[in-house]
């Protein structure tokens, strides 16, 4: 297997799918001549030309709407958001057209499109540019939401997303683009809506996804020294949520921690915790814990930004709490 970065994995996925299907095209701010704000689309303009790699003005609502229209008539657009914070401007298009067109047209129109870009906090981008959107988008029936953690998952799932006939929100991260990982060299896809046991353990189940996965892995490594055996489940797809492995794991460990980058209120962790209560109530030995961003707008001050986000220490503390280990 090759070891490549997240950025390269996404680039390969798009290039392969563009090669495979001439209806696939890319649209967004700086995706062409500038090679992508985060260089995810590097080389694609040169390889596939201006007709299929389109630089747009700074008009998220418009180019998202154009993408939806293109998808309705049979193309397969990939719309890149420079960050998902800018997708707020396109929410009317995404919520009301992308998500509902197939339903409201009685199935006459499908919207096979992918809206992708970095999600969540990076560094020092302050309150309006450091938000996590998985709970916003997964709230809406009609949208798929994917938030992978490893380059391999990212590549396999982006390819499935491009081939799917439904609108898919594909969440990445500025700070993960350089993250390296093993990626199969042969052609492969990963099905949407299938979770993955990322680390096997017997003492406690931790559910996490996207870049929080790396924080949880670090916490699990450190806890291993204290003989605490952590199992990590990565749902990979937020909606539809595959809770089967989560339930199975909780039945084994009797305790659960959910680690999510976004705010706690009405979040993805809320949904996961509800399901575990419903499906594994009799197996719980401790109240479920979760680690989220502090319930405040992201501070600009670097120290406060750091304190606001989930970190290794907070994850370890939550794990010990569900294990009734006092410090």
């Amino acid at each position: 297997m090759a070891i490549i970065t997240w950025r390269e994995a996404l680039n390969q996925a798009m290039a392969e799918e563009m090669e495979r299907d001439e209806n696939v095209f890319i649209m967004g701010e700086e995706v062409g001549v500038y090679q992508g704000a985060y260089k995810v689309t590097a080389g694609l303009l040169q390889r596939f030309g201006e007709k299929r790699v389109i630089d747009t003005p700074i008009v998220e609502a418009s180019f998202t709407g154009i993408g939806i229209g293109a998808a309705m008539v049979g193309l397969r657009p990939i719309v890149e958001m420079m960050t998902f914070n800018f997708s707020i401007l396109a929410m009317d298009q995404i919520f009301n057209n992308a998500a509902k067109m197939r339903y409201m047209s009685g199935g006459q129109f499908k919207v096979p499109m992918v809206i992708r870009g970095p999600n969540g906090a990076a560094h020092g981008l302050a309150a309006t540019h450091s938000q996590s959107f998985e709970s916003f988008y997964s709230h809406v029936p009609g949208l798929y939401v994917i938030a992978p953690s490893t380059p391999a998952d990212a590549k396999g799932l982006l390819k499935s997303a491009i081939r799917d006939d439904n609108p898919v929100i594909f969440l990445e991260s500025e700070v993960m683009y350089g993250q390296k990982g093993e990626v199969p060299e042969e052609e492969y896809t990963i099905p949407i809506g299938v979770s993955d046991v990322k680390r096997e353990g017997k003492d406690v189940t931790v559910v996490t996804w996207s870049k929080m996965y790396y924080i949880v892995q670090k916490a699990a490594d450190e806890l291993k020294e204290e003989d605490i055996d952590v199992e990590i489940i990565d749902p990979r797809t937020i909606r539809p949520l595959d809770d089967s492995k989560i339930i199975e794991s909780v039945k084994k460990t009797n305790r659960l921690v959910v680690v999510e980058e976004g705010w706690p209120f009405a979040s993805v962790s809320s949904e996961i915790i509800t399901r575990v209560h419903q499906k594994a109530f009799d197996y719980l030995d401790a109240p479920i814990e979760r680690v989220n961003q502090a319930d405040v707008p992201m501070p600009y001050a670097a120290n406060l930004e750091k304190a606001s986000l989930p970190n290794v220490e907070r994850v370890k503390k939550a794990i010990k709490k569900v294990l009734y280990i006092e410090e």
Binding site: N254, F281, D282, Y283, L284, D285, A286, Y324
Partner: protein, 423 residues
């Protein structure tokens, strides 16, 4: 609308009841307040009254069978009404399979009921009835994790007998595991394997189960300590025979006199008239004294109320009435609950000294022995005295050594010189 008749909680400690007799047959009319069955609780045989009027549609628990408190034992409704639609157990199942034809479901249910009866015969009622059993300790407000509750249920562990090591005393997995290892809280004692065939197997009565459970609970959760004094009973012996010559209203026993003097001593020592309530100590406002009464197949402790305000003759009459009714199992729950302290006397069996197990939640128990003639030193001279030994078992959470000792010292003084009670 048909109404479920549930096994009532007939005493504070009752967890299961046995139907001794159904006084109504299926199909018969019952009126609200009418006695429909006789039920054996852990303490007494009681009459079960119908809370509603209607036709007794179905008897769920047959005569001679037990059921957990809260379990459906019969169904009352309008004549001809279908019963299958409401038997609690399957409500949830119905919700999950709304598309299933009703007939098929009914048949399945009947099959299930048949299976239930067979399995009950095989001595596994605990598991089958678990769905209808209230969560263990719901009334006692036991805190336990869902997993701990399930494990306790699966292994027949009484959560009330355990103390939790989780936050705020929550019982968690590790507590159940520890209990299973030690065998604490097991509702049934482990069966000892004996090679030779047993002569007889005695089925447990409700009372026997209650005694077993409560005594294990007391001995494993109440920190007992014991104080013993020897009392010169010469004056009391004399006084008693005089009292019984003077009046024929009631034949006063030593126990009657001791009940009265215990009440006096408790008046002086309210710290002993207290009980452990988990997060606090509760001091009782009244003095009710329990009296252990031996029965053919167990014992019960009827409680004589407000002994501080009653004369010995009154106490004597009540004690006799209680003992009589206890032997006939006709005591009502309120007549054997709520004691301050219990007196257990084995003097009639020539036992000189013994220690008793506290009857929770009481703070202490007095064990009195036989009055025996023996040499005592009085004013420097050895004479023949009549002495009795009293052993007080105290709950150390409530009664400390010195507190118990002071109580016992005063009790001894009162017995030796009853006049002090008038001072």
């Amino acid at each position: 609308m048909a109404i479920k008749v549930q096994m009532p909680k007939l005493s504070d400690t009752m967890e299961e009841g046995k139907i001794l007799k159904w006084l109504k047959k299926e199909g018969e009319q019952v009126e609200q307040g009418e006695v429909i069955a006789e039920v054996e609780s852990d303490k007494a045989d009681m009459e079960l009254e119908a809370f509603d009027s209607g036709t007794l549609l179905k008897i769920v628990v047959p005569e001679g069978k037990g059921a957990a408190v809260g379990a459906v034992i019969a169904v009352i409704g309008e004549e001809g009404e279908k019963v299958d639609d409401l038997s609690g157990e399957d409500d949830s199942k119905k919700d999950k399979k709304p598309d299933k034809p009703e007939k098929e479901e009914k048949e399945q249910k009947e099959d299930k009921e048949k299976a239930d009866t067979t399995e009950r015969k095989q001595d596994t009622p605990e598991i089958k009835e678990s769905e209808e059993k209230p969560a263990p300790g719901r009334d006692g407000r036991v805190k336990a994790s869902p997993l701990a509750r399930k494990m306790a249920d699966d292994h027949g562990v009484d959560l009330k007998a355990l103390s939790g090591t989780g936050p705020e005393g929550r019982i968690i997995k590790r507590d159940i595991e520890a209990a299973l290892e030690k065998g604490v809280g097991k509702e049934e004692a482990p069966s000892y394997a004996i090679d030779e065939p047993v002569a007889e197997t005695i089925e447990l009565t409700g009372m026997r189960k209650a005694i077993a459970r409560r005594m294990v609970e007391s001995k494993t959760s109440v920190p007992h300590f014991y104080l013993t004094v020897e009392v010169d009973m010469t004056n009391i012996v004399e006084m008693r025979s005089r009292v019984n010559e003077m009046q024929k209203e009631a034949k006063v026993s030593f126990t009657d006199i001791m009940i009265k003097l215990t009440a006096h001593a408790l008046l002086k020592h309210p710290k002993v008239n207290s009980y452990w309530a988990g997060d606090s100590i509760k001091r009782r406002g009244q003095i009710h004294i329990g009296l252990a009464v031996a029965l053919e197949d167990g014992l019960i402790t009827p409680v004589i109320r407000s002994c501080d305000r009653k004369g010995i003759i009154q106490i004597s009459k009540e004690a006799k009435d209680y003992a009589e009714r206890a032997r006939n199992k006709k005591l009502k729950p309120e007549e054997y609950e709520g004691g301050s302290i219990t007196i257990s006397n084995l003097g009639m069996f020539d036992i000189e000294e013994f220690s008793a197990i506290i009857n929770p939640p009481e703070g202490a128990i007095l064990a009195t022995g036989a009055i025996v003639e023996k040499p005592v030193v009085r004013n420097g001279i050895v004479v023949v005295g009549k002495t009795m030994r009293v052993t007080m078992s105290c709950d150390h959470r409530v009664v400390d050594g010195a507190v118990g000792a002071e109580f016992l010292r005063d009790f001894k003084r009162m017995l030796e010189n009853p006049i002090v009670t008038l001072l």
